[in-house]
Amino acid sequence: MYLTVVIMLPLLVAVLLLALPRLPERAAMGIWVATTAAEVALVGWMWWRFAAEPSGSYGTEFGYEAKVSWIPTVEAGYHVGVDGISLPLLAMTAVLFLVCAVWSLAERRRPRTYAALFLFLQTACMGAFAALDLILFFVFFDLTLVGMYFVIAGWGHGDRRRSALKFFIYTFVGSLALLVGFIGLFLGGDERTFDMVSLTAEPPLRDSPVAAGLVLLAIGLGLAIKTPTFPFHTWLPDAHTDAPAPGSAILAGVLLKLGTYGFVRIAMPMLPDAWQRWAAVVVVVGVVSAIWGALVAFAQQDAKRMVAYTSVNHMGYVLLALGAAGLAGQADAEARGVATVGAVVQMVSHGLLTGALFLLMGVLWARGGTYAFGRWGGLAGPAPVFAACFGVAAFGSLGLPGLSGFIGEFQIFAGSLQAAPVAVVIAATGIVITAGLFLTAIRRLLTGDTVAPTPAKSWGLNDMGAREVAAVAPLLALSLLIGVAPRVLLDVIEPAATTLAALIGG
């Protein structure tokens, strides 16, 4: 019940906001911020209770479980719960939606609808992370697409309709593949169920490697588009460039995680044999994504596109680790466990840091209407707070110890090396390219002579305001907290993630 409240509260408020057309716009925004803050508090309480005794099993024991039968004939139902992998993602989602609400307080275009749309999106995201039923997951998964489509098309800029449509078509095709895979899982099981817990406890298609491989292909394709990995990532830069800053933050911070989370929650535990068999492919896709994403990001002349492409790089590391976790023949469970933990940490860390980076890109857009590197320069002088925030976020994103990115990437590399040494050495060069591209971005945007596009002549009076700082600073603070005291996060993740790694080998 508690978890259901956490999931449905934003939707409820969204309906209220739309049902009360006479509500003043400012009040609507206030309600939005209050709702997201309440969500953070609710998830925080869950975290508090959960961290006291984290579950050591994977995929079978869940906290805050709720189950209501919905389509009994196929054993599909409303089944939700949290464990050590979904809880950190739920928490990250709640925080990101809160800071986006704070950020959007200045939104002047149809703010009430905007708030309702984001609240709807929040329910969809939280629901997808908490879902323990494939159909429920699929429904929430698709609802996020719908929500994000309208955010980009309605509140974006530039060629927003085209970008939104491209995003929608692309990821919708992905979700169709996902559905085919889910039906395969349903048909392959002895029990004929969509329930994730049952499917994890008794993985379907154990005796038919070809069918399992095909089902994995379908699911993997759907998730790879969502994640996105090479070569399915080309929807991402367009969608980001034309999305409003909070939209980008949610898209990169939360929606991409649905892809990687799907691997961890569905593909790996439900098709452990197939995952093991095809792990090498996953590793290769991860490595190619990491290097390709970093290289393409390096060549961008548009700061926001650059940030967008770094997501491909960072998600590539996640896939590398998850693939390595599947190479049970090459590595012991301990190292694969470290890699899996690293992958989950990387998801959380990327959500925080890329969220911050996209909001900082929003600072540029709000002042100059452009993200082009050539139009900005020397901002450290007139905008020291912006410079400091961008510096911290950039170093976090390039994996500097002391910030969260390092905790993820170090464990990914150290844990995967035994299983896939060559792949890790190649992928690790990605952190050098990322270092180069972020330092180049710092040089272009922050140092040298001050340059600003025409509308921003008054930049001198216009460093980040209190609202913008209030939105970005918590993300950076959390990244620092995870970087300095990672046990806060690892105590929750480790039991579940190491069990998952052992499950693949078992």
């Binding site: 196929v74 590595a331 470290v338 390092f406 710092i442």
Partner: protein, 651 residues
């Protein structure tokens, strides 16, 4: 462990404070920003004094500390331990930091962003102390990489000046490239020994030992500016003088040599890595020593000589002279920090770093001149001063004629470049037009700067006491290296003699030596070109182009292909499938009529209505050819709904 719970013991808390206190103070200064400018210098001197005190306690108490940190494997914790080597290094690092911070407080312009500067310096101090006390890979890597980041921030401290941030970027990206080795080594020790504890390195064997050794070796070469990475140190000279004195001569660059000495067992176990270390070290000492002889810019010459001197430390790790290596590292830290303080003070006073402008600087400011002269004598390896004794300890362990000859040649070069620097700063005064080439000089050398330079030079000169066997022996005991060879008296006389003769000759024939400035040596032999990002940039542009023009277009191609296919399907639907369904339907009707006359009116009607429905769908499916793509997806979604309903029914 004899201590029941090291974390809660007083010494353990002191060790934690040694790292955490500078880190927290530095962080506070950075957050406070310009508001803290006025008292930042004072605060950081106080913190450095406190750190010296804590270091002394730690060096005598030898505590260990372990905090839960990362992976759920052995050694994933943040563990610190102080042994003999660490004890020596924490004292050296805190003392040199104190000296440089005092100098910086006097040297930095009053209107500079001092809180930012000292904040970075204190965070750096914490990272360096973490590096030299770390006993697990995560702890080591944190210190190691944060040092690099602070180096970047400090090189680019005057960010508004063109070229400074680029220089910092070059330095950071180069050292980080080498740092990849440490990530790989971490994975290797986890794979091979199931632990992330540094002690696990010694337990490695076979392939994992090779991988770990190679990784650590590359990381060390990068950090210590050894070949082929040396040129980043040239770029690093763009930083303010105190930064060159502290990070880029005394402490951070020395960390590579320290790491190799610390991990000598795994280097030895591979067989090849130990020889590689010896040769990379000695060749760096030769090549960079030659550059130091030639470079017309004194900061650049000192940077090259830093890499060359650290070459001896790397050589020490390669020949198993851990005590000699650590002694040399410490001695070099003092003398080089002192010389950078002298050159830095003159840069502030005279506005020049090139030899042309600094000529006779020692005569203008005689006290600083004397300190610099003392530093040059030590750097040149003149007996009975510090580096003469420490270098001989390393050479005593060096075997094989080729390696030994190269080592002797490298130490001869040290005498030449030290003599040249001495001849420059004590030569005839530079004409006024050569001054203020870099910045506007103040024509004032603060007394505190002179004192700092003198103390640092004298301290490392005093390390000549290591030439006395009892002193050397007790130091070896302290460092846990009692079995290592000691130099013979005759060899010490020979090296001291060579150094003295060459030093004096250089001073006498300085014009000849200074002609070296016209050779490629003054361009660092093209080494900076090795660090060019151009190939990566070219690859990046290619990838970006391919991304936009191949991948993206391919996807759209597939999409349009699918649309054409859909159109074809819609057509065939009308023509083929629709008719087929009709045929089936009418066939069914006929068969129904044949099979049973009256009863199956229901089925018949159902089939008919399905057929009609399909026909209607076929017509509807044609509609999207108008190009409204999203209608496809409404269709697809309703198709899904049907599919779901079907599943429900079937189930």
């Amino acid at each position: 462990m004899e201590v029941p719970d090291p974390n809660t013991s007083a010494a353990g808390i002191v060790l934690a404070a040694l790292v955490a206190f500078p880190a927290a103070s530095g962080g506070a200064l950075l957050v406070a920003g310009r508001r803290a400018d006025r008292f930042a210098g004072f605060v950081s001197v106080a913190v450095a004094v406190a750190a010296c005190g804590l270091a002394a306690v730690v060096a005598t108490g030898r505590p260990v500390l372990s905090l839960p940190f990362m992976a759920a494997v052995d050694g994933g914790s943040l563990s610190l331990a102080v042994d003999g080597i660490s004890a020596v290094l924490v004292v050296m690092v805190t003392v040199v930091t104190l000296a440089v911070v005092v100098f910086a407080a006097a040297d930095l312009p009053a209107d500079a962003a001092r809180a930012r500067f000292f904040g970075y310096i204190l965070v750096f101090l914490a990272a360096m102390l973490l590096t030299v006390t770390a006993s697990t890979v995560p702890a080591l890597l944190i210190g190691w990489e944060v040092m690099g980041a602070m180096s970047y921030a400090l090189i680019g401290y005057f960010w508004h000046v063109r070229g400074k941030i680029s220089a910092g970027t070059t330095a950071f990206v180069t050292t980080r490239t080498a740092d990849l080795g440490m990530y790989v080594a971490a994975g290797a020790v986890l794979a091979g020994a199931g632990t992330l504890d540094l002690s696990g390195l010694a337990a490695l064997s076979g392939g994992w030992a090779d991988v770990a050794a190679a990784g650590l070796f590359i990381a060390a070469l990068g950090k210590s500016a050894q070949l082929p990475f040396s040129a980043w140190l040239s770029a690093a000279m763009e930083g303010p003088s105190p930064v060159s004195a502290l990070l880029h001569s005394a402490t951070m660059v020395a960390a590579g040599g320290y790491l190799l000495i610390r991990t000598m067992p795994v280097l030895e176990s591979t067989g090849w890595a130990i020889h590689a270390a010896a040769w990379f070290g000695v060749i760096t000492a030769l090549v960079l020593g030659a550059i130091a002889c030639a470079h017309p810019d004194l900061k650049q010459a000192l940077a090259a000589s830093t890499a060359a001197q650290l070459g001896f430390v790397v050589l020490a790790a390669g020949v198993g002279a851990s005590a000699g290596g650590i002694d040399h590292l410490v001695g070099h830290a003092g003398v080089k920090a002192g010389l950078f303080v002298a050159v830095g003070a003159w840069l502030t006073a005279l506005g020049a770093t090139r030899a042309a402008g600094l000529r006779g600087a020692g005569r203008r400011y005689p006290a600083m001149g004397a300190a610099a002269a003392a530093g040059c004598l030590v750097l040149g390896g003149i007996p009975p001063l510090g580096l003469w004794a420490t270098k001989d300890e390393i050479l005593a362990a060096t075997h094989g004629p080729a390696l030994l000859t190269a080592g002797l040649a490298a130490s001869a070069l040290a005498a030449v470049y030290a003599g040249r620097i001495l001849a420059t700063v004590l030569g005839g005064r530079a004409p006024a037009h050569e001054l203020d080439a870099e910045e506007h000089g103040t024509r004032r050398v603060p007394a505190v700067a002179t004192a700092v330079a003198a103390i640092l030079a004298l301290a490392s000169a005093g390390m000549g006491a290591l030439a006395l066997p009892p002193v050397a022996h007790s130091v070896k005991e302290l460092l846990g290296a009692t079995g290592e060879p000691a130099p013979s008296l005759s060899s010490m006389i020979v090296t001291g003699g060579i150094a003295t003769v060459l030093f004096v000759s250089t001073v006498v024939w300085r014009r000849t030596v200074m002609r070296l400035a016209d050779t490629p040596l003054s361009e660092w032999l093209g080494l900076p070109r090795l660090l060019s990002a151009r190939p990566v940039l070219a690859a990046a542009r290619f990838a970006a182009h391919a991304d936009d023009h191949v991948l993206d277009r391919a996807v759209w191609g597939v999409a349009f292909g699918a649309r054409r296919l859909a159109a074809m399907v819609a057509r065939s639907d009308d023509g083929g499938i629709d008719r087929a369904v009709w045929a089936v339907a009418s066939g069914a009707r006929r068969s129904a009529g044949v099979a049973a006359r009256s009863d199956d009116e229901g089925i018949d009607r159902a089939v008919l209505s399905i057929a009609a429905g399909v026909r209607r769908l076929g017509r509807a499916a044609r509609r999207p050819q108008t190009g409204l793509l999203h209608q496809y997806f409404i269709l697809a979604a309703s198709g899904l709904a049907v599919l779901l309903a079907l599943l429900v029914v079937v189930g």
